[in-house]
Symmetry: C2
Subunit: 297 residues, 2 copies
């Protein structure tokens, strides 16, 4: 189990300028696992209710995702509904935790010596709970969101202090550190013991900051965004999927991981739900990675 991804599986109802969908497949672990699957086998940890569409499970299987860590329990699946007035910020209309309210993530024994662990965007106390079950790992990463930064600052700090890689967008890293310059804010995160902070900047790309180097990456140009939901999860999934495929990641691998995350995120926003990122052939993705590499170096 060299890449375990923990997070939510959800049914999303989304409205954007391009249209709307109801009860569409989503969730942080769902998006990230599918994005990662093109580069490395992913193992998912999450929970769904007994109303979860078989098509969701089928899609994970089709992408080679190990679902031994996916629980199905009685009740309704986690549901989220949101609306995008602008592409960078969803307005949450409704959140129904449902079976997610009592989620106690449990790692199957085979997952406990994973090489890479991605703690998707869920409550920091759940992220910690997973971390306590892991016996050995090489690289552990987390994603988060403004909701936990303001509401669960202390628990989130405990998580961050144990991470190798932290994914945040620029508003989040500034909000978390209380610093309005992302480079200073990034250094504050490194000072907590983190090896790499990956700051996502939406349409402007991303920057990875470590003690030894920085890697700037442009966003893949998109003329028509359809649905930004899951872009951050696909970025993290693609990034970690690429890293998991490398024996001993160095700076060049971090650059390639940023390229990979960028392209999987861009593909994702070109359609609703996971339609932009699922069922692709690897050549389509590789061609876009090659193109972005050319534009940026």
């Amino acid at each position: 189990m060299s890449l375990v991804i923990v997070g939510s599986l959800a049914l999303d109802s989304i409205s954007t300028k391009a249209g709307s969908v109801k009860d569409a497949l989503g969730g942080s672990a769902f998006y990230a696992s599918i994005a990662a699957s093109y580069f490395h086998q992913a193992s998912i940890v999450g929970v769904v209710g007994d109303d979860y569409p078989p098509a969701g499970i089928e899609l994970l299987r089709k992408h080679g995702v190990n679902i031994d860590g996916l629980e199905t329990v009685c009740g309704k699946t986690f549901r989220w509904s949101g609306k995008y007035e602008d592409w960078n910020q969803a307005d949450t209309l409704n959140t129904e935790l449902n079976v997610f309210a009592d989620f106690n993530p449990t790692l199957p024994p085979a997952y406990r010596n994973c090489r890479n662990l991605l703690l998707g965007n869920i409550h920091p106390s759940l992220q910690l709970q997973v971390l306590e079950q892991v016996e050995s790992y090489e690289c552990v990463a987390c994603d988060t969101m403004n909701y936990w930064i303001t509401g669960e600052h202390e628990a989130l700090s405990k998580v961050i202090g144990k991470m190798d890689v932290v994914f945040m967008n620029e508003e989040e890293v500034c909000q978390y550190t209380g610093c309005d310059n992302i480079f200073k804010a990034g250094k504050d995160i490194l000072d907590m013991g983190v090896k790499l902070i990956v700051i996502k900047r939406g349409e402007y790309g991303s920057v990875c900051i470590s003690d030894d180097y920085m890697v700037f990456m442009a966003a893949y140009p998109i003329e028509d965004v359809v649905d930004p939901t899951g872009a951050g999860d696909c970025f993290a999934g693609g990034f970690m999927g690429y890293l998991a495929s490398r024996p001993k990641p160095d700076k060049q691998d971090i650059r390639n991981a940023a390229l990979t995350g960028t392209v999987t995120a861009a593909l994702n926003v070109s359609d609703f739900s996971v339609n932009g990122i699922a069922n692709l052939d690897k050549q389509t993705i590789d061609a876009k990675i090659k193109q972005l590499k050319e534009w940026t170096s």
Copy 2:
């Protein structure tokens, strides 16, 4: 005369979070010429009043700038005063055109067969007037601003239609084309016959778009901005200075020009007026270019 730069020379009074200055050396041609001078000799075309500080002329001379095209006339020098509440947008407090009101830019005969011409941010009708005096050139570029886009759209379109390279920031290119996606907006500019549109994105860097390729460039990271005045002029000056130093610019040269413009703009914003970009040794600039190259490729 292989790089002629036309534009304003001004005395600026500026207030930012970092402090304020009164009647400091500025103006689009002044900033651009100094930035360009590290890479290629610049020849300036502009006008100042008889109150213009000798230190301004001295600084141009020290930077090897040819001032045969600089007129000194009776009256007061162009003055601008502005305040920055945020770093991306100056609030103009006062503009006194003074001697600039009757400026009729005249190219000295030796300037009329320049290889490269940069029409700095001035009234499009003045840019056109200069263009009509040029007998031959290889590359002509212009910069502009929102004021001309809204107030002089037709004259500006005449200028743009004759350019090889156009510099605009992302708000400007969207405002000018009426298109909210910069890649589509960039294509609209190319459709006017322009060979390269250089879209500046402030702290997020820039993107150069031609029919055949794109070049993305990150901004040089700056922890403490002091005064953003002239950043766009230094970008254009550094960019064109580098291009003028190359015999037959190709895609790789465009990339290096973007690196050069980025670094000269970053140096400039680290201090008031031209203090950040004047009187440097070339090694300081080259070291930053090398560093940014490493971070971005």
